[in-house]
Symmetry: C2
Subunit: 269 residues, 2 copies
């Protein structure tokens, strides 16, 4: 049995990396839907259907638990997939909930009612598509009470990372942090709401200053998964790990190797 990790492209590899650092014995199947990426430009119905197909594919590959490591997929599909009912013994978890848990100290898979948040002024850094979808803001309103979120659409950062220009990516991150601080001078916490941003975490940390608590999706998902697996033993482990893509495995493998700065080989999904 393995944990399935789904993303529209390669960004979810930062989530997978955080998971394997925290849980080195867990086997996983990573599925990147590169043939249909990016999801940010698709409509919600389209993203829902692509996400359902990917989840089915990961269930078929032997995963009882699938993590949607993609903000767009989580926002458009997670709640609907859970409400429609899943096959016996199967679970799908999203990338938003661990963040909300971190703000509210609620646990993944725990269906208790919304709670007071422990931080009030929260900066959200995400892509223009995620910010304009208002998905984080909606999920927070649904799952937490009393949090004041100021969102900064960090245009250009993902492009700079994907082009491998980390000097530019750093300059852009610092400009976006400055722009956020003009709107919210003293955030207590900051959310890195894009799976690419863990690669720039040190820059966000430095630009925000030590008084701001930084929440990175990748680490939070890994921590939540560790907690979840402890409460639900027998879900993962003992299988073989694999990287699957709906795109061209050779091209995607080359991009992934450049993205994470270590060798990764993909197979066709």
């Amino acid at each position: 049995m393995a944990v399935g990790v789904f993303d529209s492209g390669l960004g979810g590899l930062t989530v997978l990396d955080a998971i394997t650092r925290r849980l080195p014995d867990v086997s996983f199947v990573y599925l990147g839907d590169s043939a249909n990426a990016p999801y940010g430009v698709r409509d919600a119905e389209d993203v829902y259907e692509l996400t359902c197909a990917a989840v089915e594919r990961l269930f078929a590959a032997g995963c009882d638990l699938v993590i949607l490591a993609c903000n767009t997929a989580s926002a458009a599909a997670l709640r609907r997939i859970q409400e429609n009912g899943l096959p016996e013994g199967k679970r799908v978890l999203g990338v938003f909930v661990p963040l909300i848990e971190a703000l509210t100290e609620r646990r993944w898979g725990d269906n208790s009612p919304p709670r007071e948040v422990r931080v009030k002024h929260v900066a959200l850094f995400a892509t223009p598509a995620t910010v304009s979808s208002r998905a984080f803001q909606r999920e927070l309103a649904f799952r937490a009470i009393g949090v004041d979120v100021e969102a900064q659409a960090c245009g250009g950062v993902v492009d700079a990372i994907e082009e491998g220009d980390l000097i530019l990516a750093e300059a852009l991150v610092r400009s976006h942090v400055d722009a956020l601080k003009r709107k919210m001078p003293h955030p207590e916490a900051a959310i890195l709401g894009c799976t690419h941003y863990p690669l720039m975490e040190a820059v966000f940390e430095d630009a925000l200053g030590p008084e701001v608590e930084l929440f990175s999706q990748a680490d939070l998902v890994a921590a939540s998964l560790a907690d979840y697996l402890e409460r639900h033993p027998g879900i993962a482990g003992g299988g073989t790990s694999a990287f699957l893509t709906t795109g061209d495995p050779i091209r995607v493998g080359r991009s992934a190797t450049r993205f994470l700065r270590r060798q990764i080989a993909f197979d066709a999904a």
Copy 2:
């Protein structure tokens, strides 16, 4: 009779502004396809069909000459529209050609063969979608010889301008100019290859330094149009100007007013 100016959204208003500054007596019909914007995320066939429909709409509105003030539409549709043949007396001109003319000193509507360029090292600043489409590079290879273009995908600048955060837009422009200079330390010329960038022209100019000749699409299109109208009298003038949108006229008018910082009212197309 009027000159038609077409863009997928509001960016083409900077082109129209440059035209009306240069040619205050020319009447025009501006058509923004806000209902289908942005074009950058659509495939080429889709953009071709939307552009043809817009051109038809502007011909029907009494325009004998239509300017495609949209890089995506120009790249995907202009050559094909011209090759398919146009109704007697109608002309469609794109936003690329005046730039290539400026680099080669050839004139709009002049079908002479490609010439040697007079500047060799050219920096191109455009959106990530335009850069990755390689449309400028293809047009340059088709129409000019011996130019070395280094493209910088200026992620985030359009978003910052549209959000009205010009402090952020300035910081991002400076970072992108720095990134370009790491790849091409001494460009002789720079192209602002996005209709939003005229709003940041002073920042580009300052960041690039006085030794770099700056080509702005808006000004070049206006200059080419002035030259063209002198050679083809009777095409424009005497009509009533209008702003049309395929979107909601009230919302689009509000955005346009914020975008150009002066009052603009749109009608339904």
